[in-house]
């Protein structure tokens, strides 16, 4: 690692021994992120376990068995202990294993894990990026709940774990372990572990390379999968309130190491290996995702003749490709636009036609009515003319009659006397 660097000895106190302290101080200021994915069937005790692990009552709505498909529900909490601020995100798989046909149960989970990697990768590839203030949502650990059947792993369990083991650190646990007796439990654990091995499922191994923790980590590896019991209720034992489950035949205490492995899980998950889980996620799982994704996108480190492809060329090639894509899309949009314009034109033309027809129709009507009226007018005019004639005649007759009438009256008087 030293690449030929000479080691020098210091002749006095320099002070860079405080470097880890400086680093820690900065990390505390930034705060820590930890993301847990809980996979397990509805009712297996995921919420109870999380509540017990973090000794608090997160408000989780109760799920039903009747969801049509698996949904992932993520909730983020801010926890603080002394001066450490932890942004804890718990992702629950709601509806896992409930459907009649469970073929697609694990796909949404895999998609979710990939989506978090993708989001980080996108940020990393940005030109103007801010990785140090990025809220890391990548899943650091997956707690897989195995049903306490006492027999073996279900096919769904194997399939799901196999699809996730190269993407996330898996810690298998047996949920609701208070239903198994001690003897049955050890057999069950052995069966599970051998099935995992024979199916090639890679679960998270507690690291045994650090001197301080190698011993305890190795021992703990032997206790996998942890048989846990979680509880949201507290029971009074002696003069303390402890998390426990009360049965007619006794009380199962969550934090009693004789009763279940809960304390071991908490110790391993939080007190000993939280940082390692985060590092494995970033240095191993994320790098693998990134590598696959970049290769998928067409980037390579070495070109067709195994010559190293320079960053320049890779970006240029990619940019050209995207440019062509952009052109294609533009052309498509242009054609669509032209099409739409044509369609609109046709519609408008039709409308215009219709209006024209109506107009002509109305003109016709108008003509007809006008003609009718003209006719009527003529008729009336004729009548008027006739009437005037009649009137004139009548006048004439009256005037003639009034002239001849007095002669007749005289004659009558002479005679009549």
């Amino acid at each position: 690692q030293n690449h030929g660097y000479r080691t020098l000895s210091l002749s006095g106190h320099v002070g860079f021994g405080s470097l880890p302290e400086q680093l820690v101080k900065k990390s505390i200021k930034q705060g820590f992120c930890f993301n847990i994915l809980c996979i397990g069937e509805t009712g297996i005790g995921k919420s109870a376990l999380i509540n017990s692990l973090f000794n608090t009552n997160f408000d989780d709505p109760v799920s039903t068995h009747f969801l049509p498909r698996v949904q992932l529900r993520a909730q983020t909490y801010e926890l603080q202990e002394s001066n450490v601020l932890l942004k804890l995100t718990v992702v629950d798989t709601v509806g896992f294993g409930d459907q009649i046909n469970r073929e697609h149960s694990y796909q949404p989970i895999v998609d979710y894990v990939d989506a978090q990697f993708e989001a980080y990768l996108q940020e990393e590839l940005k030109i103007n990026r801010s990785l140090f203030s990025y809220h890391d949502t990548r899943i650091h650990v997956c707690i897989y709940f195995i049903s306490p059947t006492g027999h073996s792993l279900k096919t769904l369990d194997l399939l799901t774990m196999k699809s996730l083991d190269s993407k996330v650190n898996i810690i298998p646990i047996i949920g609701k372990a208070d239903g198994i007796s001690k003897t049955e439990l050890q057999n069950f654990k052995n069966k599970i572990m051998s099935e995992l091995v024979s199916n090639g499922v890679q679960i998270y191994q507690f690291p045994a390379d650090d001197e301080t923790f190698s011993e305890i980590n190795t021992i703990m590896n032997g206790y996998l999968p942890f048989a846990v019991v979680g509880s949201t209720k507290e029971v009074k034992i002696g003069n303390k309130m402890v998390r426990a489950r009360q049965y007619p035949w006794g009380i199962v205490q969550v934090e009693n190491e004789n009763h279940c492995d809960f304390v071991k899980l908490r110790k391993m998950l939080i007190c000993t290996n939280m940082e390692d889980l985060r590092e494995q996620t970033h240095a191993r799982h994320y790098e693998l995702y990134r590598r696959c994704r970049l290769e998928e996108m067409g980037f390579t480190d070495t070109g067709p003749e195994s010559k190293p492809v320079s960053l320049q060329e890779a970006y240029e090639a990619k940019r050209h490709e995207l440019y062509l894509e952009l052109q294609r899309k533009e052309e498509k949009m242009r054609q669509q636009f032209v099409q739409r314009v044509k369609e609109k034109e046709t519609i408008l033309k039709e409308a215009e036609q219709q209006i024209q027809t109506k107009f002509e129709h109305h003109m016709l009507m108008h003509q007809e009515v006008k003609q009718k009226l003209e006719k009527k007018k003529k008729v009336l005019e004729n009548e008027i003319a006739l009437f005037i004639e009649k009137k004139a005649n009548a006048e004439l007759l009256r005037s003639q009659a009034s002239v001849s009438t007095p002669v007749v009256t005289l004659k009558r008087d002479k005679d009549g006397k």
Binding site: Y5, R6, T7, L10, G12, H13, V14, G15, F16, G17, S18, L19, E21, Q22, L23, V24, K26, S27, K29, T56, F58, S63, T64, F66, P68, R69, Q71, L72, A74, Q75, T76, Y77, L79, E81, N83, V84, L86, V94, D111, Y112, A119, N128, R129, L131, F132, T137, R266, K267, I270, C271, T272, M274, E275, E287, R291, L294, T300, L311, E316, E331
Partner: protein, 350 residues
Amino acid sequence: SCAGPVESKTEAAMSELVPESRQKPVVPMKPMGINANLLGYIGIDTIIEQMRKKTMKTGFDFNIMVVGQSGLGKSTLVNTLFKSQVSRKSSGWNREEKIPKTVEIKAIGHVIEEGGVKMKLTVIDTPGFGDQINNENCWEPIEKYINEQYEKFLKEEVNIARKKRIPDTRVHCCLYFISPTGHSLRPLDLEFMKHLSKVVNIIPVIAKADTMTLEEKTEFKQRVRKELEVNGIEFYPQKEFDEDLEDKTENDKIRQESMPFAVVGSDKEYQVNGKRVLGRKTPWGIIEVENLTHCEFALLRDFVIRTHLQDLKEVTHNIHYETYRAKRLNDNGGLPPMAVETEENHESNL
């Protein structure tokens, strides 16, 4: 598809009748930032210990560059800072060697250890800077070297199969040595710092401060600070990168009172008042390097090593490197535009 709250039974039944579209990857919900009250000790704070152990195992890299005219005591100062012969002067440097005709960049690395912490320290010397008759553009080789280190890191970072720990040769800190003339900064000083303060953390120091009295020192420092401000030179710690009020208060004091540090370096020890101290022996007394009443070396050492070392690295990584990277990715690298592209360009213009 959504990651929203649970549907009710009837809704679920109804949605089963609706034909299912292909599952899209679920988008994570925005963090709701629910504050949960812990009802008992869990052990979250052990992550500090876990982190500390991890960093001690991996060790640290630190790269420091010294710039200034020859004879200002650069090598001696760096040796004094790291209490060992880390600088070029001791790695076979001959005092009779000719001053180079151009600025050379010489990087030498050593591994030092203290308190269980391993540090790979690289000292980058710049012999020839400011020593020519015509010093125009003598900062260019230095700027080029700094950018080359950013380029190296960038190349490694964009590889598909990349190393777990990318070797960091980037310059984290550049000590610029100001001649103790007592008057003002020289044009060369201003030019250098103007150009380089944008790409690297510059810490100006007044060299060979044992030639100034206390009053002369204070006045000179004030004048230098003023000149730097007037010329818009942002030396480390830069105001714009203060993260919070605590940082700002602490850094303000350093920026406005302590800097530039007036230092004296020495790798010889003398007996003073029964103690062995690093110092310079003169007819009129022994100048104790680590005595705050004699010079500000201890302030510089504490500042660079004991409190701000990690910050120097972080500013280099999060800001200077990111700036370089963004610029690099935005440029088309000076390649001529492709002929094919321009043709298509014309066609697509409606």
